[in-house]
Amino acid sequence: MAIAERTAGTVSIPVVNVRPGWAGWLSTTDHKRIGIMYLVSAFVFFLIGGIEALLMRIQLGVPDNTFLTPDVYNQLFTMHGTTMIFLGLMPLNVGLGNYLVPLMIGARDMAFPRLNALSIWLFIFGGLMLYVSFFVGGAPNVGWFAYAPLTQKQYSPTAGVDYWIIGIGLTGVASIAGALNFIVTILNMRAPGMTLNRMPLFVWMQLVVAFILIFAFPVLTVATIQLLFDRHFGTRFFLPNLGGDVVLWQHLFWFFGHPEVYILILPTMGIISEVLPTFSRKPIFGYAFVAYSGVAIGFLGFLVWAHHMFAVGLGPLANAFFGAASFLVAVPTGVKIFNWLATMWQGSLNLTTAMHYAIGFISMFIIGGISGVTLASPPINVQQTDSYYVVAHMHYVLFGGAIQGIFAGIFYWFPKMTGRMLDERLGKWQFWLMLISFNLTFFPMHLSGNAGMPRRIYTYEADMGWNLWNLISTTGSLLLAVAFLLFLWNVVTSIRRGPIAPADPWDGATLEWAVSSPPPVYNFAVTPRVRSRRPLWDQKYPHLREINSGHGMSGAHNESEKRDGFEHETSPAMEPIHLPSPTYAPLIVSVGIMILGFGIIYLSDFGLIAASAMIVGLLIMAFGILSWVRISHVDSPHHAH
């Protein structure tokens, strides 16, 4: 394609000061590098979370097993849940979004490149802090939801819960800063002609998720701060013997926790909405419905939190409301599924690995969705709550759904990011192995759950009737590990020896395929001008433009706009390219915040040392902020002349 290069002669291509080697990564403000850092670090955490799951499955493979002690088992399920949600799925989605959103909307970077760098460092340090707990008295062992009063000091005396609070806190700040960045980028940095209703659906879903994050995360932040005060500074928010309220914790946690589920799944729905049209060689069916049903899911997500609390006994009215609201979520979700099916219908399907995963997503997500709808009914829920049935449901949504969606995205965009193609054959082997072993692992949990097996038990007796299902689950989980090893092998060999990826290997419709693979640092030599939802298809297939565009959705009747799907600005005043300089400031600020966090954890036990650590942390932070302010002034477009 080389559209960027074609016109590149007319503008001044910037000399970019990328520092070589590691320094380049530590000081980067490039959204693409930060995206890759998110993807790699999240994948490492994801593998660790997977190993934790494997250890638990080995323990549960046979009854009365003594492979793990009960306490280690408790630590593992807590860390598995926390890791997969906060350090695995969320940042994998953020990484894809970071890399792709600016490219898809025709921007050169995120709105706040330095804030973006702060987000990645806070995320990495938050994750590392969580894992430090293993070496200083034990990881948290209270579940990822950390119900009170188990989290109080008398029941959880080690610092594990404190590391959980601070680790989640750091990643939470990273998430809020990241969401703010996405909102401003998507609303404000779109190329000319890229109206909201022409944005790729992946961008739409990232926007919805950013709004959910902005409103849901502060609630978790407050709840964890209150818990921290309970543990260290004498308050009694969640201490029932002193009038505190353990149910309040559940309300606050799930007010965050349920929207969090949509934070995990909506971006992957966006991925599917990009992958399916490309490989069906058809525009998405019902673009507006797919976009706005995402908005509806995001909105409804704030009204359903108490369906996690049906067993608490909130009363029939509350249960009825939250049950009904939860049923409602099925409507926009079903709308999306039918739109995806209709997109494939009569398409000329190109069954690439990414397409395999996209179809796998739809089929597994439907199973998880159906068990979700039934779980939303209070009487059924009370029977199944805290049983393995819920574990099955949640993994069908988040593994069969979200993880398969992310794999669809990785196989789709890996060539764009690395300039190399992944091995498609190996990818399909991985897909089938993963699909089969995923179902082997999690489908029997429906049955063991309905046979009464509770979640979060470290072992069970031989005569409960759960032996066979558990053995199958454990076997499946070991095969799953093989599937992930296949993927790792695929990545490692393809980066070195994979076929060179062209700019547009899949015949895509969106702007990221208009630039080389990998894209130049500045993304677009000239800012593209967008005239429809599928700028690249319209350009490549002008004769199909009427069909592609639907009926007047993109103003196709305007004669001057008919020529081309997207053009470049051709005004004589060519816009010079302005890129942020690399800087260590965000990294320094994050280090300061992390040291501050360590100080907070030990403040009530080792007053003086901890307080000095806090002061050191604050000083480092202040130094980082000072250099941040300086570089942002020097960097500002007005200054540089």
Partner: protein, 203 residues
């Protein structure tokens, strides 16, 4: 500095945005949205526990502890600081450096006076026997008003950094926006105090 001047020519188009709103302004508005949820959660917690506090043997009555006179003065100080903030922004837009300095430092001074008043109030309440652990009222009151006070302190630091930045680079065309977004945050923190003052102190 030199490397950037070689490679990055100036542009007015860099500030063009899709919505026509400055990026940083939109960012601060988004942040304020998030902060609204933060304080809404703290205030909700306060109200959830108010009746529980009343029914307990270690009940501490907010009416007995809270000094409306003092906090009315504090509220007036903070409201006045919103006015001086507006005047500082207006001066900064006019390019009137002298009155900008006056009004911005006045805002900082009023902010510091508020923090001083809150320190005095907390100290007084502590000697009266109200602590984080003395009752549910103490627990919820100190965490709510303490976090608000911390936000005021952050606001003071923010305003001071804007002051020094404008002093160091008086001709930067971004100065007015720097002042405006710091002001947005400042007004938000004031507004939260109005809510706390009405809901916790007056009702």
């Amino acid at each position: 500095m030199s490397e950037s001047s070689m490679t990055r020519p100036p542009t007015a188009a860099a500030h063009h945005t899709s919505l026509g709103v400055d990026n940083r302004k939109l960012g601060v508005w988004t942040f304020i949205g998030s902060e609204t949820m933060f304080f809404a959660t703290l205030i909700t917690t306060y109200f959830v526990f108010a009746p529980v506090n009343r029914a307990r043997p270690d009940f501490q009555d907010p009416r007995k502890f809270l000094d409306i006179e003092l906090t009315t003065v504090l509220a007036s100080i903070l409201l006045a600081s919103s006015l001086t903030m507006v005047l500082a922004l207006s001066a900064s837009r006019r390019g009137d450096r002298r009155s900008f300095t006056t009004w911005l430092l006045a805002t900082v001074g009023l902010g510091l006076a508020f923090i001083g008043g809150q320190v005095y109030e907390f100290n007084h309440l502590y000697h009266e026997g109200l602590t984080l652990s003395s009752s549910l009222f103490g627990t919820t009151f100190f965490v709510l008003t303490g976090f608000h006070g911390a936000h005021v302190a952050v606001g003071v630091i923010w305003l001071l950094s804007v002051f020094f930045k404008v002093r160091a680079y008086p001709d930067s065309p971004e100065n007015a926006m720097d002042v405006e977004i710091a002001g947005l945050y400042w007004h938000f923190v004031d507004l939260v105090w109005v809510a706390i003052f009405v809901l916790v102190y007056l009702i």
